[in-house]
């Protein structure tokens, strides 16, 4: 019953947003480039944004690899069109978190954790398009104004509530209820913006001929990963069938549902761009996987790696999985780690870290005679490694 209601609601929301003619539903609105801020609020926001872009630009977190930057920019251009993408500055930040955002002055921040989680260009395009849609619809300005009027209202409520309390008149309880409903409206407003951005994002995908269902797959995997993380940490999982009062985004389930409902109607193409994406990410994959492993989130990382590996188990993925198991280091993890290292080395015999990890795992399992050749191979491949002396002392006959 409930999913049906949700579906109908999504369709109803679409109908009010899209044109009356269903065939024109995903037509792109006209776009004016080089937009300049128009009024006091907007100019103020842009000023703050310009300052924050300066900080971002001069940050060591920014990945300055030209090839990767050009590729991500080209995906945005393909997704939203060349007339739209021209003025956007993209900063790829080395932060192992699933996130991207775009601010009013046209700054787009893409986190490395997002790039790691995408399996192909269509998935990346769906996220970049969504963020660009927020920008095109100038959502930040609306949100700022909405927050301001809400906080104004709350301040008045607090003061009037105090007056009522001090002078014994009126009911402070009713002021309290009012406050809660005001907060609720603020967060609902923000969820509506998300839905609007999702729908405009689909229009870009349709125009660019990307496979539309990629968008809902992204949200399903986000949900599964969060579930894996909470199960792994013995926390109660998030509930996806109800929206929390303070949630700024629709629940991922609701989102995945209405996105797949929409995807069925979008006249999109079939382009996925898997090979292009893998090639562009290859030089950074090891680094991004290493950053993810250091989050110490075993279950979430295991989910993420197996999802990427479900299409094809490559040496970097097997190596990362092995490292993940070796670093958790329960006795039962070590045989798994050794097996994954072995598989990684079968695919690529020149992985010094795999020899190191395999040797250390075997050493830990008291299989020194098997461990020694691995560690020696590591030293051969990387004689100047930072930990070379330490490894040598392990290999040396006692």
């Amino acid at each position: 019953m409930r999913p049906m209601v949700r579906l109908l609601a999504a369709v109803a929301a679409m109908a009010t947003l899209g044109a009356a003619n269903p065939e024109r539903e995903f037509d792109l609105p006209t776009y004016t480039g080089a937009y300049q801020p128009q009024n006091v609020d907007e100019r103020g926001m842009w000023m703050v944004d310009d300052e924050s872009e300066r900080l971002t630009r001069d940050s060591r977190l920014v990945i300055r690899d030209e090839a990767l930057n050009n590729y991500v920019h080209s995906v945005l251009c393909r997704a939203v069109g060349n007339d739209r993408c021209g003025g956007v500055r993209i900063y790829i930040l080395r932060v192992p978190v699933f996130n991207a955002n775009m601010s009013p002055n046209g700054t787009m921040r893409v986190y490395s954790g997002l790039l790691l989680r995408m399996r192909n260009e269509a998935e990346l395009a769906s996220i970049l398009g969504h963020e660009f849609a927020h920008f095109e619809m100038r959502h930040s300005l609306d949100e700022f104004r909405r927050k301001r009027s809400t906080s104004d209202l709350l301040a008045w409520t607090a003061v009037l509530g105090t007056l009522a309390a001090t002078y014994g008149g009126g009911s402070t309880q009713s002021y309290g209820d009012f406050r809660i409903s005001v907060y609720g409206a603020l967060f609902r407003f923000s969820r509506d913006q998300e839905r609007e951005a999702d729908i405009l994002g689909f229009s870009y995908m349709a125009e660019a001929k990307y496979r539309p269902s990629a968008a809902s797959e992204v949200w399903r995997s986000a949900m599964n990963e969060a579930d894996a993380t909470s199960t792994g940490r013995a926390l109660r999982g998030q509930r996806y069938d109800k929206t929390a009062f303070f949630a700024t985004h629709p629940t991922n389930l609701e989102r995945a549902d209405y996105l797949s409902a929409l995807a069925n109607r979008v006249p999109g193409g079939e382009y996925e761009g898997r090979n292009a994406y893998q090639a562009a990410l290859a030089p950074w994959l090891d680094q991004f996987l290493e950053d993810q492993i250091k989050l110490n989130d075993f279950a979430g990382t295991e989910y993420l790696i197996t999802r990427l590996g479900a299409e094809e188990w490559t040496a970097p993925l097997l190596l990362a999985r092995a490292e993940l198991y070796r670093l958790r280091a329960n006795p039962r993890d070590l045989p798994n780690a050794v097996e994954f290292y072995r598989q990684a080395l079968t695919l690529n015999p020149d992985l010094p870290t795999a020899y190191r990890g395999m040797g250390l795992s075997l050493m830990r399992m008291d299989r020194k005679s098997e461990a020694t050749p691995s560690l020696s191979r590591y030293l051969e491949l990387k004689p100047d490694a930072l930990d070379a002396d330490m490894i040598r002392s392990l290999v040396a006959p006692q």
């Binding site: 006091v40 100019r43 103020g44 927050k147 301001r148 309390a165």
Partner: protein, 250 residues
């Protein structure tokens, strides 16, 4: 019961308005043994000041204003050069760096902000001392440093000291003032407007923090030339070797 509700409401108002109690006073400190005689002809490298000017909404939100900020930046720059000329120092503005140097400058700006807020939070005001700084506080020792890496900053080789300036102004909107008046009737304090700032001088050879002045309630309307001059006087109050006349309180 009513009292509890009143307190809760007052707390809510305090939370929605943005100001720190710790910054509500003014403090200055100079590193022991550091003196700068007037007219010593030193060169001071001014890093891009952080200036935020805007309004404060009824609910206490900061509403940035681009025009006011541009005016403040312009006027304060002019009065800083005038004041330092009178001290006999030469102020040069750091040029906008690019590439690796830009990263270095950005890191040091952030480091200065972190160090000076530690000074303000943990040394200037009683009751919130860092355990490692307790002895310094007792003995009135002012010893903080950004580290000798500052010597690598672009322009550091040609200057003696680096000057960092931060100001934030939120002019209370009409709505905020009306709210303040009503709140007073209810016996609740609502602050209208935020005017805080700090300035610090760093030795560009050693990285030592030589002087820091912080003020949570500054005077002078930075949107006008006269007001900006008053603000700059207050920021540079007790600047080492200073004969800058103390500005009247706000």
């Amino acid at each position: 019961m009513n009292l509890i509700r009143a307190i809760a409401a007052a707390l809510l108002v305090l939370c929605t308005s943005s100001f720190g109690l710790a910054q509500a006073q003014e403090r200055t400190a100079v590193r022991q043994g550091f003196t700068l005689p007037p007219n010593s002809g030193k060169t001071i490298l001014l890093f891009r000041p952080t200036i935020r000017v805007g309004a404060q909404s009824t609910g206490g939100m900061f509403e940035p204003n681009a025009d006011w900020t541009a005016q403040g930046r312009e006027h304060m720059g002019v009065s800083l050069r005038q004041l330092q000329d009178r001290l006999g120092n030469r102020v040069i503005e750091a040029s906008e760096p690019i590439g690796e140097q830009a990263l270095l400058v950005a890191e040091h700006m952030a480091l200065f902000a972190a160090v000076s807020s530690s000074v303000i939070n943990y040394q200037f005001f009683v009751g919130n001392r860092l355990p490692t700084k307790k002895r310094d506080n007792r003995n009135d020792v002012f010893e903080w440093t950004l580290g000798p890496q500052v010597a690598r900053l672009p322009g550091a080789a040609d200057a003696d000291y680096g000057l960092f300036i931060y100001t934030e102004d939120q002019y209370g909107s009409t709505g905020r003032k009306v709210l303040q008046a009503f709140a007073m009737l209810g016996g609740v304090g609502v602050q209208s407007g935020v005017h805080s700032g700090y300035a610090g001088l760093v030795d560009l050879k050693t990285g030592e923090l030589l002087w820091l002045n912080a003020d949570g309630k500054m005077g002078g309307d930075v949107r006008t030339p006269e007001g900006a001059e008053k603000r700059m006087r207050q920021l540079l109050e007790e600047f080492p070797g200073s004969s800058v006349q103390t500005a009247p309180a706000a």
